[in-house]
C-alpha cells in the first residue's frame, strides 16, 4: 500500500502534500482553503471595482490613467495566479514558476516588440498622400 496521500483535485495545484498528510507546516483544513479562495475572490473583485472606478474618475491625472489601469490589471493577474492557480514558492512549484517566467518573457517580447517595431515603421513610412501621388 502506498502511504502517499491521493491528489486533491484543483486545490493545491503543484504544491506537494507529502505522505499521510503530514506536511511540515501541517495539513490545510477545508475551512482554511475556503477562506483562501474567498480572500482571492474578494481581492479580485476589489481590484476590478478599482479599475472601473479609476476609469470613471477625474481625480487622477489624465495621461496617467492608462498606466494606472495597467498596474491594476497586473496586480489582479497576480492575485489570480496566487489564489486560484496556486503558483507558490514551494519547492515542488519551481518548474511551474520557471515556465511562467519564460512565458512572461515571450509575451513581453511579442507585445512590446510588436508595438516598438510598428511604431518605427509608421514613423518611417511615406505619408499616404505622397504615396498616392507616386503611384500615379
Amino acid at each position: 500500500m502506498t502511504t502517499e496521500r491521493e491528489f486533491e483535485a484543483g486545490s493545491y495545484v503543484g504544491e506537494d502534500r507529502p505522505a499521510g498528510g503530514e506536511s511540515p507546516d501541517g495539513e490545510r483544513t477545508l475551512g482554511q482553503e475556503l477562506r483562501g479562495y474567498a480572500l482571492g475572490l474578494a481581492l479580485a473583485l476589489a481590484l476590478t471595482a478599482s479599475s472601473f472606478w479609476v476609469r470613471g474618475t477625474d481625480l487622477i491625472y489624465g495621461p496617467g490613467l492608462a498606466v494606472a489601469l495597467l498596474v491594476l490589471a497586473v496586480a489582479q493577474m497576480g492575485i489570480h495566479l496566487i489564489y486560484f492557480l496556486h503558483i507558490t514558492t514551494a519547492p515542488d512549484n519551481a518548474n511551474n514558476v520557471l515556465a511562467l517566467a519564460f512565458g512572461v518573457l515571450i509575451v513581453s517580447l511579442i507585445v512590446f516588440g510588436s508595438l516598438w517595431v510598428m511604431e518605427h515603421l509608421n514613423h518611417n513610412m511615406v505619408p499616404m498622400d505622397q504615396l498616392m501621388r507616386m503611384q500615379r
Partner: protein, 212 residues
C-alpha cells in the same frame, strides 16, 4: 535508516531524490505548459489589437462603441464562476458528489451568462454596422475577444463532460486529474479576461488625447 533520513527522503520526492514526482504534479505541470502556450497565442492577438487600435478607417472608435456596464456584468459573471470552480475542486477533495455537481452547475450557468452577454454585445455591434469587416481595429477586436469567447465555450463543453464523468465514473484518480486540468483552464481564462477588460475596454475607451 533513521527516521529523520526517511523523512528527508519522502520530502525529497520529485526533487531528484526519493523517486519521481507524484502524477498529479506532472499532470499539472504539463497542462500549465499548454496554458502558457495558449497565453502566448493570446499575446499575439493583443499585440495586433494594440497596433491596429487607431486604424478605424473613418469608422466608429472604441470610445463610441463599447458599453462599460455590459463589460462590468461580464466580468462579475466570470469572477464568480472562477470562485465556484474553486468550490468544485474543494468538493472533489471532500469526495462530495452533490456539492461537486452543484458547484460545477453554478460555474456552467455563470459561464453561459458570460457568453450570452458577449454574443449580445457582438450582435449589437454588427447591427450598428460595426462588424469585423468595418475596419482593422474592429477585425482585431473581434478576433481577440471572440477567441476568448471561443475558449469559454469550449470550456463549457468540457465542464459538461466533467459533470457527466463524475456522475458516471465517480471520483476515480484519472477523472480527478482531468478535473485538475479543467480547473486550471477555467482559472487561466479568467486571467486572460482581466487583460481584455482592462486593456481593450477600460484603456481602449479612454479619450484619444489621454492615450499614450
Amino acid at each position: 535508516m533513521s527516521t529523520a533520513a526517511a523523512e528527508t527522503l519522502s520530502l525529497a520526492t520529485g526533487h531528484g531524490a526519493g523517486g519521481p514526482a507524484p502524477k498529479r504534479i506532472i499532470v499539472g505541470y504539463g497542462f500549465w505548459i499548454f496554458l502558457l502556450s495558449d497565453v502566448i497565442m493570446f499575446s499575439t492577438l493583443f499585440a495586433a489589437y494594440a497596433v491596429l487600435f487607431k486604424n478605424t478607417a473613418g469608422g466608429p472608435t472604441a470610445e463610441q462603441l463599447f458599453d462599460l456596464r455590459n463589460t462590468a456584468a461580464e466580468t462579475v459573471c466570470l469572477l464568480c464562476s472562477t470562485f465556484t470552480c474553486a468550490m468544485a475542486s474543494l468538493a472533489v477533495g471532500e469526495r462530495s458528489l452533490k456539492w461537486t455537481q452543484l458547484a460545477l452547475l453554478a460555474t456552467g450557468l455563470l459561464g453561459l451568462a458570460f457568453i450570452t452577454l458577449e454574443v449580445r454585445e457582438f450582435a449589437s455591434l454588427v447591427a450598428r454596422g460595426a462588424g469585423p469587416t468595418r475596419s482593422a481595429f474592429l477585425s482585431s477586436f473581434f478576433t481577440l475577444v471572440g477567441c476568448h469567447g471561443a475558449h469559454v465555450t469550449a470550456g463549457l463543453l468540457w465542464l459538461g463532460t466533467m459533470m457527466a464523468q463524475f456522475y458516471a465514473k465517480g471520483f476515480r484518480v484519472d477523472i480527478r486529474h482531468r478535473f485538475l486540468c479543467f480547473s486550471l483552464f477555467w482559472h487561466a481564462l479568467d486571467i486572460i479576461w482581466v487583460a481584455i477588460f482592462s486593456l481593450v475596454y477600460l484603456v481602449g475607451t479612454l479619450p484619444r488625447q489621454l492615450l499614450p
